[in-house]
């Protein structure tokens, strides 16, 4: 890069064609009239790795587009597509099972009071029996449809929550890649000493956004109203009361790992890609297991994969995910003792025994 009177010149962006046309034209003009800048651009270009021909444009495998369309048709006919249809997703692109009834077919004249004629569909008005039959059918359909609707909404919320965890998991992975394997953990004694600090730490590097931490099923959203992940500067300048509140909520709808301690010494929290170690989960509420999803919770594992764990089904998890093996809301006793804590808990040993 070259700092000149006219500001910084993004030569890499220019050489890669990544600049907008106006900016590219400005850089080209600067290079034209500045031999030193031209030399610098030449040197930079020579030093850039050149892309190999084998990485260049190649023909896709024959029939790729056709196979893609066939997969789409196959999906559209599957039960999964039907389930999605019931949630209203892509309503216009699924085949309609029945012809829509035009508004004229249910005009007021058609449903006016009975004139005592015979029952049946035709030009006559509807009778009492028709209304009873329709009411009964509506009740029957409602009894079928309402649980399905509730279930589909529950599924949608569950999926949205899991997508959040997946996003945060990806962010933790990226953070660990950049910071030599370390997880987003703050310094003890600083405003970042609680487990919820993972949020401002990841947000500071543009790895997560506010919405990523809100589970749509969680009561958290109603508790805090508009949720914003605080910046480091905001946390540092907060008065004690405000800081305590922020430490309680900044982890969003999720709990974060307390890590583990050996002989009372809390170990540095590193990402190890362990597919059995839980690093995040729906926030524990009231000392019990998370109830955000009624019969279970979403969890994120150390290797980045997510799963929904039913509370009543056997799993690989320690059944008491929110306390360690001796029942304390404190770091685990070893690598396999996963403990997920709400935002305000500090990573110290021990914090408190379970109530």
């Amino acid at each position: 890069m070259n700092d000149r009177d006219e500001g910084e010149v993004d030569l890499i962006g220019y050489l890669l064609g990544a600049l907008d046309p106006d900016e590219a034209a400005r850089v080209a003009a600067r290079i034209d009239r500045d031999p030193l800048l031209r030399d610098e651009a030449d040197r930079l270009y020579a030093s850039l790795p050149k892309t190999e021909a084998t990485w260049g444009s190649e023909l896709p495998p024959p029939g790729l587009a056709e196979r893609t369309m066939a997969a789409l048709e196959q999906f559209a006919d599957s039960p999964a597509a039907a389930a999605l249809s019931s949630t209203g997703a892509s309503a216009a692109v699924r085949p309609l099972a029945v012809e829509p009834v035009p508004a004229s077919a249910v005009s007021s004249s058609t449903v006016s009071s009975s004139d005592g004629g015979t029952s049946g569909f035709g030009s006559r008005s509807w009778g009492l029996q028709d209304w009873i039959a329709v009411t009964a059918m509506t009740a029957l359909l409602a009894s079928l449809a309402v649980p399905a609707l509730i279930n589909s909404r529950h599924q949608a919320q569950l999926t949205a929550c899991r997508n959040n965890l997946r996003t945060v998991g990806r962010a933790i992975g990226d953070y660990a890649d950049i910071h030599r394997g370390r997880m987003p953990v703050g310094e003890p004694g600083s405003p970042f000493e609680t487990v919820g600090a993972y949020a401002p730490i990841l947000a500071a590097e543009s790895l997560i956004r506010d919405d990523d931490l809100i589970c749509p099923s969680s009561s958290f959203k109603n508790e805090v109203g508009t949720f914003r992940i605080p910046t480091a500067e905001q946390l540092i300048r907060m008065k004690p009361d405000a800081l305590a509140y922020m430490q309680r909520v900044m982890g969003g709808s999720y709990g974060f790992t307390l890590g583990y301690a050996i002989d009372g010494a809390v170990q540095e929290l590193k990402r190890e890609g362990n597919p059995f170690r839980v690093v995040m989960a729906d926030r524990p509420e009231g000392g019990d297991l998370a109830v955000a999803h009624g019969n279970g919770m979403n969890v994120l594992f150390d290797d980045g994969h997510c799963a929904f764990l039913h509370l009543d089904s056997p799993s690989l998890l320690d059944p008491q995910l929110f306390v360690n093996r001796i029942g304390a809301v404190a770091p685990g006793l070893d690598q396999d003792d996963s403990v997920i804590a709400p935002s305000h808990v500090r990573r110290v040993w021990p914090v408190r025994l379970q109530d």
Binding site: D10, E58, G304
Partner: protein, 200 residues
């Protein structure tokens, strides 16, 4: 107006309204080569790229209701494809962890590319091997980049997108794209130059 005369955005808007699969097929054909190459390069494996390609368009079908009118289709498509590729890479990493004794698709591809290099008759075999080794080093460095940098390199460096487009796809500020790209290019350049000097 025939499907081929319509813009991407018009095709998607009409498909959303009518469910006409012919319009969707036009979009798939339109991006078949470009998007496949993007995914092929991103994932380093032809089979994974095809899977991700199909999954991308399935997502386009499922999410087309969410596409904002006034937005451009291409960055939206790339955003979906990039997320599919990121997920695929993560799945491959997990599989590698549980099957360390099996060579990965990327490694198999690498062997295949080496064979292709050796079979090629366009230049001296020793030069080709050197070049292949250099590329393998750069690719290895590329694969070791954090996902956030890797995505930026794929979109801007290899796919030739503008900073602004990459920022829109990755939903980060333009400045973040620039800084990630600069860091990544710095690392790749070090590997390239170290290897380039060694082989000269």
């Amino acid at each position: 107006m025939t499907p081929s005369d319509r813009t991407d955005e018009q095709l998607l808007a009409t498909y959303r309204r009518t469910g006409d699969r012919g319009l969707f097929a036009e979009l798939v054909h339109r991006y078949e080569r470009e998007l496949y190459n993007f995914l092929r390069r991103y994932l380093g494996d032809a089979t994974l790229a095809e899977d991700a390609f199909q999954a991308t368009f399935l997502q386009v079908h499922l999410k087309c209701e969410q596409f904002d009118e006034g937005r451009r289709f291409r960055p939206w498509l790339y955003a979906i494809a990039t997320n599919q590729a990121i997920d695929a890479r993560r799945r491959v990493r997990r599989q590698r962890m549980v099957s360390l004794d099996r060579s990965s698709p990327a490694e198999q591809d690498d062997v295949l590319r080496l064979v292709q290099v050796l079979e090629s008759s366009e230049e001296d075999p020793s030069e080709r091997i050197e070049r292949h080794e250099r590329n393998a080093q750069v690719n290895e460095a590329l694969a070791s980049l954090p996902e956030s940098m890797f995505s930026v390199v794929q979109l801007v460096y290899f796919q030739g997108l503008k900073y602004r487009e990459a920022a829109e796809i990755l939903e980060v500020p333009v400045g973040t794209v620039k800084s990630r790209l600069n860091s990544a290019i710095g690392k790749l350049t070090d590997v390239w130059n170290a290897n380039h000097i060694e082989t000269r």
